[in-house]
Amino acid sequence: MAERLGWGSRLLRQFRAIFVAFHIVAVCLSAAPAPGAGMNRAAWSDPTVQREFNAWADRLGQDPDSFQDRIWAAAVRFVELRRAVLKPFVPYLRTTGTEQSWQMFVAPHRWPTRLQIQVSRDPRPALSSEWETLFEERSDTATWKAEFFERERMRATVFRWGWPTYAEAYKRGCNALAQLIFEEMPEILTVRCRFSRVQSPGPAKLRAGDKPVVEWRYARVVKRP
């Protein structure tokens, strides 16, 4: 015969069942796909993003521009709906650290960027020969604090700096790195951060022997205060 439970145990069982059900609903709703940082139209101008839109517009037989406008309108409505549905669960998800975000490699980056940090002893370097490369992503020679930049957390930071959405964070980050350099190297008067961008070759381009074109962007110069 089943053991009779006291009111305290019965209440605890009910509370546990409510809690587990609430947790499951909260995490499932929170994990629903969301555009996240993609809800920024400036980021849509990136060639990687444009290529995706054009491929889908082509596949669905749509005009690329109006297709993007329709996607934007749908995304705005979806994000608003998602926010409204999630609202009652947000305090729980935030407090317990159970927010869900599983946008992982949703699309390959075909125009990846690389951070380069250069220094100069000249307060107004004009010639390229007056710059010395201190750090460059994946370089074997320009390796200032390479171990630091290779940490996954720094990789994620630098990856974001290469997108227009994160322009302000990049500006502050470059300033902070320049301050580190000024503290470490008293002779340095100017620091320049910039990104190179090269299109990753597809197999056809590679077989054709096309030379990659390096494009420099987001140059930011910081002078010793």
Binding site: A31, G97, Q103, F105, P108, P203
Partner: protein, 322 residues
Amino acid sequence: MSLLRRWTAWVDLLERRESATTLALIRIAFGLIVAGHVARQWMGTEPYYWYNLENGGLRELTDPGTLAWFGGAVPAVVKAFSVGAVLAGLLMVVGFFSRAATFAAWFCFSGLADLNGHAGGSYDELVKIVLFLLLLSGAGRALSFDARGAPPQMVSAWPRWLIAGQLILIYWTTALQKLSDSWVPGGELDALWFILQQPTWASVELDPMSILPFYPVLQLMTLSVWLWEHSAPLLLLALYYRDSRLAGGWLRSVFNRLDFRLYYLGFGVLMHLGIDLLMDVGPFSLGTVSMYLACFHPDELEAVLQRLKELVSRRIWSATAA
């Protein structure tokens, strides 16, 4: 079945108890992950991404979260949280004051991970979620200093189910977001080809010419990964069938005879090994593979541990005899 009966069945289901071995193994794995990962952030150069701008940080941290209670994202507080996370992680490994250690690991790790969302990845969410679920569990009641000398103890099974469910949710919802023309069947299936060329995540920079002969293999792998992630709900079905193996049905019988879990998770282990060999994505792979343990009943893992123990003692015995 009426709503009330369904609710009663749900309440009864959560009463299920089992040995703590599976949860204990997950506790040990996540203790190691937290301790190792946070310690690594201090090797060589300080973790400037966790500091305020005024302290040499890379970003204005408008919300220092729980660190604000102790003075904000200044080096001394960041260091204290890091030391706390490492020590708590190690205590989780040995199972000393397990629940308090898990709470400290969750509190310190969350505090650090939430400081700068730009300097993190999905591994932060993964670790925080599993630590929270372990905190609610009886993970310290086996393979621990806390449980030494005590008879085997039974703990609630639902935290293990929630960890397994979380794993399925991760794979399935990441798949739903892989809408790129490079991933979907009918597209170019060149996602892995381009991902491997991305310098940000590459652990070794590959010359595209050197991987060109493997392009068709990479296309096949792209399709396999996409299909495998999309089929994550089948793992849920497999776990349910495994749990209700005495009920009839040909599909249940096929799933159980094959032990679908082993195939699904085996593919996952190979995929994560490949990721970790070629890319640096933090402790994500180690974390997710550790969550695979939640798909196994403690009895199954205890049998494996017993076989391993016998194997090791046989080896030691033969070495001593020789």
